[in-house]
């Protein structure tokens, strides 16, 4: 079946089964390989994208429900060759190790900070439940704090 999607500001059409998870559509039909497969059951966050600005785990989101929603993947977060302040903080704090979870982390954190510019530690713990098997969490927390203080100062 054909579905019309809006991904990173562009209109795209795909021809897949209606129950196909958005994850596989984004990766294999549209080539957004930065969206990662980790668990397939919404338990790790590796596949996190923004849907109308809200962090969403795309591995259980059927493509048929994704029409008429503005989808942003990690590739669409910043302009080509640029980094957002969240991405830059990730570089400054040398957050990623294997890096496989980090697309999802960056997307989850970006959505959180857009919704809530000054989250408490508890807010951060509640919102960022993504798994990082490499344990980059201490640096993730540092990088989040860095963005919060920089945005506050701006």
């Amino acid at each position: 079946m054909e579905f019309s999607l809006r991904v990173n500001g562009e209109a795209r059409t795909v021809d897949v089964e209606p129950d196909t998870p958005l994850l596989w559509v984004l990766r294999d039909e549209l080539g957004f390989k930065g969206v990662k497969f980790g668990c397939g059951v919404a338990a790790c966050g590796a596949c996190t994208v923004h849907m109308d600005g809200t962090a969403t785990r795309s591995c259980i989101f059927p493509v048929e429900a994704a029409e008429d929603i503005e989808i942003t993947t990690i590739e669409g977060l910043a302009d080509e060759g640029m980094f957002t302040d969240v991405q830059q903080a990730w570089i400054d704090e040398q957050v990623p190790q294997c890096g496989y979870c980090q697309s999802g982390m960056v997307m989850a954190v970006s959505a959180l900070l857009d919704e809530n510019p000054s989250p408490t530690d508890q807010d951060i713990n509640d919102a960022i439940t993504n798994v990082c098997r490499c344990g980059s969490y201490p640096r993730i927390r540092k990088a989040i704090r860095k963005v919060i203080s920089e945005r506050g100062a701006a």
Partner: protein, 735 residues
Amino acid sequence: MASGKKKLTRRKFLIGSGVVVGGGLVLGYAALPNQLKDIAARHKGEGQILSGWIKITPDNKVTVIVPHAEMGQGTHTALPMMAAEELDADWDLVSMEEAPGLPEFANQPLGEGFIVGDKLPDILAPLINKAFYSIAQAMDLQITGGSTSVRFTGQYGMRVAGAAAREMLVKAAAREWGVSANDLTTEKSFVHHKASGRSASYGSLVEAASAIDPNPTPALKPKSAHTIVGTRTIKRFDIPGKVNGTAKYGIDAEVEGMLYAAIARVPVHGGTITSINDGAALAMPGVKKVCNLGYAYAVVADKYWRAKTALEAVEIDFEAGGNELVDSDAIFARFNQELATLELEYDIDEGDVEAAEGRLIEADYAVPYLAHACMEPMNCTAWVRDGVCDVWTGTQAPLMARTAAAVAAGLEPENVTVHNHMLGGGFGRRIHAENDYVAPAVEIAKMTGQPVKTIWTREEDMRFDEYRPAVVSRFAAKLGDDGKPNAWKNRFSDKREPAEAPLIPYGVSNQSIGFVRSQSHIKLGPWRSVDHSQHAFFTESFVDELAYEAGADPLEYRLSMLADAPRHAHVLKTAAEKAGWYSGVRAGRAMGVAVHESFGTIVAHVAEVSIGDDGMPRVHKVTCAVDCGEAINPDNIESQIESAIIYGMTGAFFGEITVQDGQVVEGNFPEYEMVRLADVPEIEVYIIESGAPLGGIGEPGLPPTAPAITNAIFALTGQRVRKLPIRNYEFSASA
């Protein structure tokens, strides 16, 4: 900015083989320098090969070729740092390439480390027993594991190659200017002659320098002269691509005309398919083929979701040789029984533990199977056609992957090319390619006749991992009048590597450490820090028990037995002081300590815990002291220690793979739970540079993690955790 990495292509590899010959130069192979010139001559214009693992081009750029995979441990940056330091290169002009999976890159410096007497991790020992140069090639020794990259490739390859290249450049300038090499200095990729004010870039000297024979034993810089190694200014090459989604992992490989496969193994490890009913699957949309591999089956389709959906419609019968009745209790019962009946082998048997006098203290410990749960599920893309095979994957051992692919494809290894990618987690999982993820993918591709990407579901990845062994370990000690053990007796049910993992640093005169090799049908493999992961828990818990039995402070008790292990003592004291061991903790909390040496590095942790309202312990802080000899990239050491502590916490708190009806029960998160952001303690890392030989850093932070936490739990609750994971216990803080 130093530029990022790119892969060597086949064409460029020809340069690579010259480079490796240069690596051989490090070993002092007399024949090799000529060969080096030979190859350099054949490839004029592509940049001269000066030595080892370094390429310098006329534009003054330096490329360092790294024969190890990047899985987050920072090797792709730490090794170029070591080469660039000795070369006196301008870091901003340095980039790296990962060596392709070809035997010329077999890790000779690893063997060199062995020969010059550094302890080679036993994980690699079976692969090296004679002349390592040929053996390394024959046995596929291009491994990233055993915390070896910096210790061996870095120490014996990168540093020596960098220094040799610098010497050649200096000599070339001296000849050209008609001055003495002693009057020249180097800085940031330039040679200077102060007296005459002349300067030349390395790039401009490349041609002249390549005519000079490399010195296999160049002088290395003193640490005080370092400007790259040991500083905190270097950012990892691989990080920018990991924050914007452009880093390419095995799962991201794209090949023209590629199909997708979903795979399922026979549910019982080691079982075999006796019949397969694939009619329904074959009728589903997009399905091209159903493959019966005997030990597994797969559906190949034009889209992954179609393959995965159709896989669920395949039915099999299988034969499991009686293992379909086995469960976890039976496995542990077997270990306990065999510990009493099988013949013992010994790691150490000194003095007479039976005859020694003292108060007998006994305790039995156990740990379960653990999955690696790499964030990137296993996957491999393969294409077998016209007598050749290409493999796209992420592997810690590209040459082993190559051999596995060759066997599966029915080809010679030289007709197989492995295109290695970033690894979405390694931890030992991506070392053993035997019949694991590479071989099945190649078999499937061969049956299909087209390029196929096979992706394991998380459930398949979890249930058919090669696990950290489940082990039981029993102790008996005899305490003398001074409270110190006169005898230390340890018996355990599984033995892999490194051999020294169960040894204790403490001075105990009668010691008997013996084991049997109990087995089950569950597949095992190396898991971050290998046998150290369980033995540090066993030994550091039991010594803690002895301290309490002796009525002593657990830190002082350990220190009093470390007269002959000053590095251990120093690390312990440092961690304790920084943690505030002597000033006490706030009400409702307690501290526990543990120290353990692995891969040449000694780590002590002090963990501070409380018990939450839910009865579960909460770790507030881990203070770590680490002596790895020398700090190459301090920021990365901290990050690896943080990583190892959190990996260790996941194992200690949650990790448990159980078996029922012969099958692994746990299939996905959160059933196999992970530490998440909310659970993460404050972590402080203190690096001690003792000047001892370089130790590893990817693994040694893990082993003391579990015992530091469980010792703290005991201090707080009086409850001793003798069988992991912690979450199977209930605690109250009142004791």
